[in-house]
């Protein structure tokens, strides 16, 4: 290619940047309706629990009924503060324990069975049907002083774990915390914290 022709060709082919500039200079057709926002929306979403109910499936019916009764006795609603049943602690524990290692599953299943068995042995009816005084008899192991090593008795060991778990599942629930905020108490201390995202 002769030198003169080469420069003529270069002049005829705009650089990429120049092409973009030409596109931007061309007047755009005005779409109908209001001008589009340049920002993408951030939509309000609802947590699943606000729209639906948990479906328990780990414990059998007598075990779950005993867990509900136990939850209500250990952490009742007091002075308008939601209790364990309001916080759906039994349903949450059905999920949590069902997702736990085998020894924790066994602790809860055999513990709830032992709770019903103890109630039948003392009062000839299952734990959910006991009144408060009768229930206190069955829950007597909880009166024992706390020790670092878990009790050897399976029912006592279960009751100790359940007392802690029911309290935590209640205190960390949406219902418990939002009720505190609505009552003017603000968010409960410790209810919010910095969460570490998975490290890249």
């Amino acid at each position: 290619m002769k030198r003169r022709r080469f420069f003529q060709t270069l002049a005829a082919v705009p650089a990429a940047g120049a092409l973009v500039a030409q596109q931007e200079q061309r007047p755009a057709a005005t779409p109908p309706g209001p001008a589009a926002s340049t920002e993408l929306p951030k939509l309000d979403t609802a947590p699943a629990d606000a729209a639906a109910e948990m479906v328990p499936h780990f414990f059998d019916a007598p075990q779950f009924a005993a867990l509900r009764k136990l939850s209500d006795i250990l952490q009742p609603s007091l002075n308008g503060v939601p209790g364990a049943l309001d916080a759906k602690a039994p349903e949450f524990l059905d999920f949590l324990i069902g997702d736990s290692p085998a020894d924790r599953k066994q602790l809860y299943r055999s513990g709830l069975d032992a709770l019903n068995a103890s109630a039948k042995a003392h009062f000839n009816k299952p734990f959910p049907e006991l009144d408060a005084t009768q229930a206190a008899t069955v829950l007597a192991p909880l009166r024992e002083p706390w020790t670092y090593d878990a009790p050897s008795d399976p029912l006592a060991r279960f009751l100790r774990a359940a007392k802690q778990d029911i309290r935590t599942a209640t205190a960390n629930s949406r219902e418990f915390n939002l009720a505190g905020a609505a009552g003017g108490g603000g968010r409960r201390f410790g209810a919010q914290s910095l969460y570490w995202l998975p490290l890249d």
Partner: protein
Amino acid sequence: MAALQYDVLIIGSGASGGMAAHTLTKLGLNCVMLDAGPQVDFQKDRVLKAVYDLPYRGFGKPGRLPHVLQANEFNANQWVDEQQVPYTHDPKEPYNWVRVRMIGGKSNFWARMSFRLSDYEFKGKDYDGFGENWPISHADLAPYYSQVEPIFRVTGRKEGLAQLPDGNFIEDNSPDSPAVQKFAAAGKAVGMTVTKMRRAAGSGQLASSFNLLLPDAMATGKLTLVTNAVVREITIDKNSGKVNGAHFHDRHSGRELHVNARAVVLGASCLESTRVLLNSGIANSSGVLGHYLHDQFYISNSVVAILPEARDGKGGRGFGGGGYIPRFRNLAKSEKHNFLRGYAFDFNTAGTPDAKYFGAWGEELQKTLESVRGAAFSATAMGEVLPRYENHVSIDKNVVDAWGIPVLNFQCRYGENEFNMAKDAVDTLAEVCHGAGWEVLHKNPKMFPPGYSIHELGTCRMGDNPKTSVLNQWNQSHDIKNLFVVDGSSFVTGGSQNPTMTILSLSMRASEYLAGQMRAGNV
């Protein structure tokens, strides 16, 4: 093109590696630092969340971190994944190995308790005949402690105690609260001294290698910081017998690389450093590499007591307070107990006891907790663990981590000395609480499993005798002169004090020595 060669390769970016970089770059050496984790952004990598918005309501995913008792659902992602980097032990003898892999390492999360060791530790054998003395004394390390403490802005009250040397503090001479004064008066009967907590104030949110050491090192222009570099082994020049770099894997891809250096400084944390050396098959002519593993045993809530004068809100603001009780046992050779060495306490007098301590439920429990809110004493007991040969780590060739690197096997248990010491600690503390007129609600002499304190020490100990120690007094390998190990693995004994200030000071001292040796052409 010839491969890049640095003056010094530093493995690990936590307290010890960070101090090595801080010191060596200031002295003009060209350093490269490898860390197995990423650099985190404390603003973007953490988000404020409500506990009820977490998938497990704060319980955490069951079984995810069975050995990390400090883990919760908020912080679970900051710890090393136990499935990705496993380790093995007899199920009946657990070891809680708590690890962090990110720039700054565990110094991003430590409790900031900042103490010096004393000659009761450096020269412990002289007092009771057990084990070995360190090859250095407090006087050797004091000039380095005095430089480290201002960098970390350590606060404290000077007491003139031989067992807890005073430091170059930001002095805290605020008065003790009424509750602390009462407790201190009762403690005198058993020889206790109560002092202010000695704590690294740091700068801003952190007192870490990440914000206090590495920025200065980077500013020299002599530090190349490589993230996500999982070191497999240190390499040896076959002609000279000296170390010449390390093989490592990219954390994300597994790709293998090699970095060259004239000297290597290991500061990957006590047991990771030892793991690297064992996997490299070096620095073990003594046969003690991996041995003499020790830490401090911990008992949280060793004693919980109620202050009657603070029940039902009577204590009021400013009544309670906290403090530190340094070791007071076996300071005189004439003292006779059924254990050697001693223990310390970290205590608080304005807490609310956990509901588990009360044999009640429902409304009765709620009323009880309201009554004792802010009216409880509790203390963590921290005891010296004797370094014993039989407590050790070795390589488990049957198990590898996510990068194919063989993992550690632990054989470690507490012995009679620790059990007796723990019982004395709890009984004595309860006695002092009674003496103060407080109601002891609970006492527990049961120690957490070894490792819980996150103060793992030893396994690469220093000493003058190459047949019984891995390092010399300069944290330098007896076997390989251009190899240094500057973390807690170099400890001979650990005392009852938190070790971070000593690790930092040893690293500074070793790094100055290394720079001098390189200038002199000896390394």
